[in-house]
C-alpha cells in the first residue's frame, strides 16, 4: 500500500453530502466495503427497474452540469445521441485531469473507484452503450491500477460483463492511458488520442454525440460528473436539485491549493461563498498574510482578487463577474506573490501545451512568453502594454479551434484588467514592489 496517503479534504465530520459522504470509511476502495454501505444498489435499480429514458429523465431532473470544465447540463447532453442503430456506441470517461490546480478526479478515483464504476454503468445503460473507455492521464499510475482492480472486482461479482445482474445487457469497461499532454483533456483531442493519433482537436460539427470515438456516437463525461450518478439514481433527481442553486444545482468537489493552510479536496454545495471553501474548509491564508489573487476553476477560469472572496460558488455568480466555474480547481496566492510572474508561469504552460494545429495559439503563446520574459527582466517598454493587448485579443474570442487559446488569452486579459498597476510598475518603472517587500 502506498503508505495510505493522508486523506486531505472532505472526510469524517467535514465530508460532503454526495460525492464524499463515505470518505473516511476504511478501505472504501474494496468492493466488499462499498457493498456494505449500499454500493451498486443504484445500478441494480437502474438496470432492473427503470427504462433507459427514465434514467436520463432523473439526470435531467437533477439539473447536474458537467464537472469537466464547460458546465454543460448532463441530461441534455445524453439526449443528443441519436437512437441506437445496432452499431457500436461508446461512453468515454474523461479522466485526463490536467487543468492546473485540479486534483479532484484523482481523489475520487483513488479513494472511491467503485462509485465511478457504478456511475459509468448507469451512463452506459442510459445511452445504450455496451462499451465504456476510461481515458486516464498516464501519470496516474496508482489511480489506473485501483480503477482497473475495481472493474475486475465488479466483473467477478457480476455487475458488468456478459450478463450484468443476470440481464441481457452486456457491458465492458476498458482503460486507456494518456501520455502526457494537457490537450488530451479537450474532448475531441481526447478522442484522437484514444484512436491512437497525435492529440489535435477536431473541428465541430460533427459533435462526438453523433460522430465520436472510432466514428461512432459517443458520450463524453468527466469522472466527477459520472461519480455523482449513483447518488442521483438512489435518491432521485429532485433530491439532488435541492442542493445548490436553481441553475447550478448540487455540490461540487473543489481542489484548493497554493497559499492556504489546509490545501485539499473539499465537497461544497454550489452557491456557498468561496470564503467558506477557502477560509473555513481550507484554513485560509497563513498568519500575517492575506489572499491577493485566486483562480476559481483551474487557471483557465479568469482570475479574481482577494476582495471577491464572498462571491457565491455557482456558475452564474462567477459568470456575472467575468469568470467561470471551470474545473473546480481553486488556486490561491497571497500578498507575497507578483501577479505578472504568476501570469508568466501560466503562459509558459499554455505555450508548452499548445498542440500546434492552429496558428493563433501556436504563435501567440510563445510570443506572450517572450514578452513576459523581457518585462520580468526589467526590459519592458511602454509599447508592451499594447503588445499584451494584441496577443490577448489574438488568442481569445474563439479564434482558436479549441478552448486552450481562449484560456491563455484570458490569463493575460484578466490579470491586466485586475492588476494593471503591477503590469505598469514592471513595464514602465522596471521594479516589483511586491517581491521587494516579500524579500525584505
Amino acid at each position: 500500500m502506498p503508505a495510505a496517503t493522508e486523506l486531505r479534504g472532505s472526510h469524517g465530520k467535514a465530508a460532503g453530502p454526495v460525492l464524499t459522504k463515505d470518505f473516511g470509511t476504511a478501505d472504501l476502495y474494496k468492493l466488499a466495503v462499498y457493498e456494505k454501505i449500499g454500493g451498486y444498489q443504484a445500478w441494480r435499480k437502474a438496470l432492473t427497474t427503470m427504462q433507459p429514458a427514465e434514467v436520463t429523465g432523473e439526470v435531467k431532473a437533477s439539473g447536474l452540469r458537467g464537472r469537466g470544465g464547460a458546465g454543460f447540463p448532463t441530461g441534455t447532453k445524453w439526449g443528443f445521441l441519436p437512437p441506437p442503430d445496432g452499431g457500436p456506441r461508446y461512453v468515454v470517461v474523461n479522466a485526463d485531469e490536467s487543468e492546473p490546480g485540479t486534483a479532484k478526479d484523482r481523489y475520487l478515483m483513488e479513494n472511491h473507484p467503485h462509485q465511478l464504476v457504478e456511475g459509468i454503468l448507469i451512463a452506459c445503460y442510459a445511452i445504450q452503450a455496451h462499451h465504456a473507455w476510461i481515458y486516464i492521464r498516464g501519470e496516474y499510475d496508482l489511480q489506473h491500477d485501483l480503477v482497473a482492480a475495481a472493474i475486475a472486482e465488479a466483473r467477478t461479482a457480476g455487475y458488468l460483463g456478459e450478463q450484468p445482474l443476470g440481464t441481457e445487457f452486456p457491458i465492458d469497461i476498458h482503460l486507456y492511458r494518456g501520455h502526457g499532454a494537457y490537450i488530451c483533456g479537450e474532448e475531441t483531442a481526447l478522442l484522437e488520442s484514444l484512436e491512437g493519433k497525435r492529440a489535435q482537436p477536431r473541428s465541430r460539427p460533427p459533435f462526438p454525440a453523433v460522430k465520436g470515438a472510432w466514428g461512432r456516437p459517443t458520450l463524453l463525461n468527466n469522472v466527477e460528473t459520472l461519480s455523482t450518478l449513483p447518488w442521483i439514481i438512489s435518491n432521485g433527481g429532485a433530491a439532488y436539485a435541492k442542493f445548490g442553486t436553481e441553475k447550478s444545482p448540487g455540490t461540487r468537489l473543489f481542489t484548493v491549493s497554493g497559499d492556504v493552510q489546509r490545501p485539499g479536496n473539499y465537497e461544497m454545495e454550489l452557491g456557498k461563498p468561496f470564503s467558506h471553501l477557502i477560509n473555513d474548509l481550507a484554513g485560509g491564508p497563513f498568519p500575517g498574510h492575506s489572499i491577493k489573487v485566486w483562480w476559481p476553476g483551474g487557471c483557465s477560469a479568469p482570475v479574481l482578487t482577494g476582495e471577491m472572496l464572498e462571491t457565491p460558488s455557482d456558475m452564474e455568480s462567477l459568470a456575472a463577474i467575468g469568470s467561470m466555474g471551470g474545473s473546480g480547481g481553486v488556486i490561491v496566492a497571497d500578498d507575497r506573490r507578483c501577479v505578472v510572474r504568476c501570469a508568466y508561469r501560466l503562459l509558459q504552460f499554455y505555450a508548452h501545451e499548445s498542440c500546434g494545429k492552429c496558428t493563433p495559439c501556436r504563435v501567440g503563446g510563445n510570443w506572450a512568453v517572450r514578452t513576459y520574459e523581457r518585462v520580468l527582466a526589467g526590459e519592458g517598454t511602454a509599447a508592451d502594454l499594447a503588445t499584451f493587448d494584441r496577443i490577448q485579443t489574438g488568442l481569445a474570442a474563439g479564434r482558436c479551434l479549441c478552448g486552450l487559446g481562449d484560456s491563455a488569452g484570458w490569463v493575460i486579459q484578466w490579470t491586466m484588467e485586475r492588476f494593471r498597476d503591477e503590469y505598469e510598475e514592471h513595464i514602465l518603472r522596471h521594479t516589483c514592489s511586491v517581491e521587494a517587500a516579500a524579500r525584505a
Binding site: P100, A103, G180, A181, W214, N265, G329, F349
Partner: protein, 175 residues
Amino acid sequence: MTLSDHTLKEIRELPPKYPHIRSAVMPALDLVQEELGMLTQEAMTQVAQALQVDPGYVEGVATFYSLFHLEPVGKHHLYVCNNLSCQLRGAEELLTHIKESIGVSEYGQVSADGLFSVEPVECLGACEYAPMLRADHRFHYDLTPAKIDTLLKEWRGDREGKKARKEAHPRAGSH
C-alpha cells in the same frame, strides 16, 4: 537497442483489445519504454512492423507525447511539478537542489552514474500535496530538500529502477 522476442510477442497480442489497430501503438510504445527505458529508432521500426502500420506514423505519435523518451534518461527519472501551485510551495528550490545533488547542470541530462535525470513538468494533479514529484510510477508528496535527500539515498540503493509497475503499487495488485 532492439526489442526482445518476449516484448514483441506482447506487442503482437495488443490489437484485438482495441476497435482499431492504431489504438495499440501507444500501449506498444509503453512496452518498449518499459524494456529499453526509451524509444529507439530501431524499436519504433519494430513496433511499426509488428503492428503493420507506417514507421512514420509511430514516430509521429511518439514525438507528440511528453511521456515518451526519445533520449536516454536515468534509471530513476524524476518528474518534478513546477506549475503554479507547486511553484508557490517551493518547487524551484527543489529543482535546483535535485540538480545539484545528482550533479547535472541541465534538465534531461543523465547523472554520471547513470542513475538519475530530472525534468520539470506541468501540473500532475496532486496540487494539495505541493510540492510533489513522480518517479518510478509513484507520486511523492509534501517535498522538502531534506525529503529529497532521503529519497535519493533510497534510490541510490536501487540501481535498476523499479520499472515494473506491479512493484510500485502492491495495494492495487493485492486483490
